[in-house]
């Protein structure tokens, strides 16, 4: 904790971007991943373009971004599978380029699509991972991850016979077997059905205490559910580094009020609302409902109800900003 007491232990560039989003300095854990100016080209394509960030113990950082944004490439470099063209990565204070083996002992990694040896049973596969990691209490470790990942019932089955949800949990189990400080999960819920997604998301949430987790996803609800930090990547650059809550508040249409006019003219109500100075615009939706969007993103329910006046309304609700709208706005800006 002592190092985090010094405000200058956070590089200024990162601090400036995340200041608003992060909690008080003394609540922060130690820095477990520190990435500076990370760059990787594939031929002429710049997959990752000078990104810098830090992740602390207790953080669940979500990498968001369209396909090809550089999420997977960045993760592969953090785990040491790919060598960066430029920039540095430290995991738990160890330079990845200098000592990949030491780093690999601190990281649990779930690669995209959770590859595993299909012909092996779940238990034999985990035993191989335990052996490769030179775990001393392998049996206990295997038992414990079978329990954590709810895999007891399939421990003797070959992995190729398992459903996608189980396979993904096998991938999580191998990533957890050595109780690592750092978890890197590349699209942990991609391609799963909603029930399987929920199981894996709950599992990730239960793991987040006392670790640092970096996961990539293009499902924005997932980022809201699981992450306490969200980084939006596009074309290899960090566009936003914030919290999911802060992103929701910035999203277009946050705190817009929607209601149905039961007695009176909806168009007239909309016109009245549009004239108010706090209102960014009000319109009648195709279904007959009226939606009024506040200029400043604050909750203006009282103003709306006051403006409605004599008219009678029903089904009044305040809408939350939608992350995917913000995401589209932000990433479109780059593509254009």
């Amino acid at each position: 904790m002592t190092e985090t007491d010094h405000p200058d232990s956070v590089p200024s560039a990162v601090a400036a971007e995340t200041e608003a989003a992060l909690p008080e300095a003394d609540a922060l854990g130690e820095v477990l991943i520190s990435v500076a100016d990370l760059t990787k080209h594939y031929g002429a394509i710049r997959a990752v373009d000078g990104i810098s960030f830090q992740v602390r113990r207790g953080d669940v950082l979500g990498f968001l971004g369209p396909n090809g944004a550089g999420k997977t490439t960045a993760m592969k470099m953090i785990t040491g599978f790919l060598e960066p063209d430029r920039g540095s990565i430290e995991v738990a204070g160890i330079d990845v380029a200098a000592d990949r083996l030491a780093v690999s002992r601190r990281i649990g990694y779930l690669p995209e699509d959770a590859p595993a040896y299909g012909e092996m049973t779940v238990e034999a596969f985990l035993r191989f991972i335990a052996e490769a990691r030179e775990l001393e209490a392998a049996d206990e470790a295997i038992d414990s991850v079978l329990e954590t990942a709810h895999l007891r019932s399939v421990r003797g089955q070959t992995i190729e016979t398992l459903s996608k949800g189980y396979k993904r949990r096998v991938g999580l189990a191998q990533a957890l077997i050595h109780d690592p400080d750092v978890l890197i999960l590349d699209e942990p819920t991609d391609g799963l059905d909603p029930n399987q997604k929920a199981v894996v998301q709950d599992l990730i949430s239960s793991l987040s205490a006392n670790r640092c987790i970096v996961l990539s996803t293009h499902i924005l609800d997932e980022a809201e559910r699981v992450c306490n930090r969200a980084v939006i990547l596009s074309e290899g650059r960090i566009l936003v580094d914030s919290t999911p809550d802060a992103l929701v508040a910035q999203a277009p249409g946050h705190n817009a009020v929607r209601f149905r006019v039961t007695e009176g003219d909806a168009a007239e109500v909309a016109a009245t609302l549009s004239a108010a100075d706090w209102c960014a615009g009000a319109r009648v939706l195709p279904g007959g409902e009226v939606e009024a969007e506040p200029r400043d993103g604050e909750n203006r329910l009282n103003d709306v109800l006051a403006a409605v006046g004599e008219h009678r309304v029903a089904d009044v609700r305040v809408r939350e900003g939608r992350l995917d709208e913000l995401f589209r706005d932000v990433t479109r800006g780059v593509a254009a």
């Binding site: 040491g80 599978f81 590859p115 299909g118 191989f128 052996e131 490769a132 990691r133 030179e134």
Partner: protein, 253 residues
Amino acid sequence: MSGLARRFTGMRAVLRREFHGYFASPLGYIFIVIFLIASGYLMVSRDFGRFLELREANLDALFSYLPWIFVVLVPAVAMRLWAEERRSGTVELLLTLPITLEGSYLGKFLAGWAFLAVSVFLTWPAVFQVARLGDPDWGAIFASYVATLLAAAVLLAIGLLFSALSKNQVVAFILAVAASVGFLLIGVPQTQEFVGKWFGGYVERVVSSLSLLDHFETLTRGLLQLNSLLFFVLFTVGWLVCGMLVLGQTKTN
């Protein structure tokens, strides 16, 4: 941990996994059966080994054809080792564990080699028979087994290189067979005559010194000559190092 041991971190785990892998599917057993049938047939066949006709208490009839069987069967043992890892993406898992590229490469090589050794030692009934029927030269039989294992090693190293080169097992297999055949054909008299005629005696001597078959034959005669042993060791190590360099490039594709 010393530098060298560190370089091969994880070898043991990979070796064990891969070796068990051969026996986890029918493929390993099928391989052994085919190998034993083929070697037994070539040994007793009137067109090839003529073991029964020669009425001699030695196993030349068995050993002299093993390199030709290996040309097809060793690439079959090797083809899966890297191609499958790369096709299924497990290479990324493997090489982000505390396992080095060199460690996993050598582990796979040793697993394949151990499997081939098991197959080769299952020819023991032939040894048993010559011992029962006559008084064989035990030194020559021992040296022949050494030679067979060394030939298996060098061909396996070639197969592993092509498995690291292609994600497709079938392509890896075909390329490895072609390369292995080429490697063996350098040693047949026709090739050496041809080379001698066109490039002169010096080149012929160089080419013939690269002949796997010649070195193999030297060893099977019971002469554990240093230059023949070195030939196998150096070529095996050379192909392995090439394969590691190739894998370093292809692992991320």
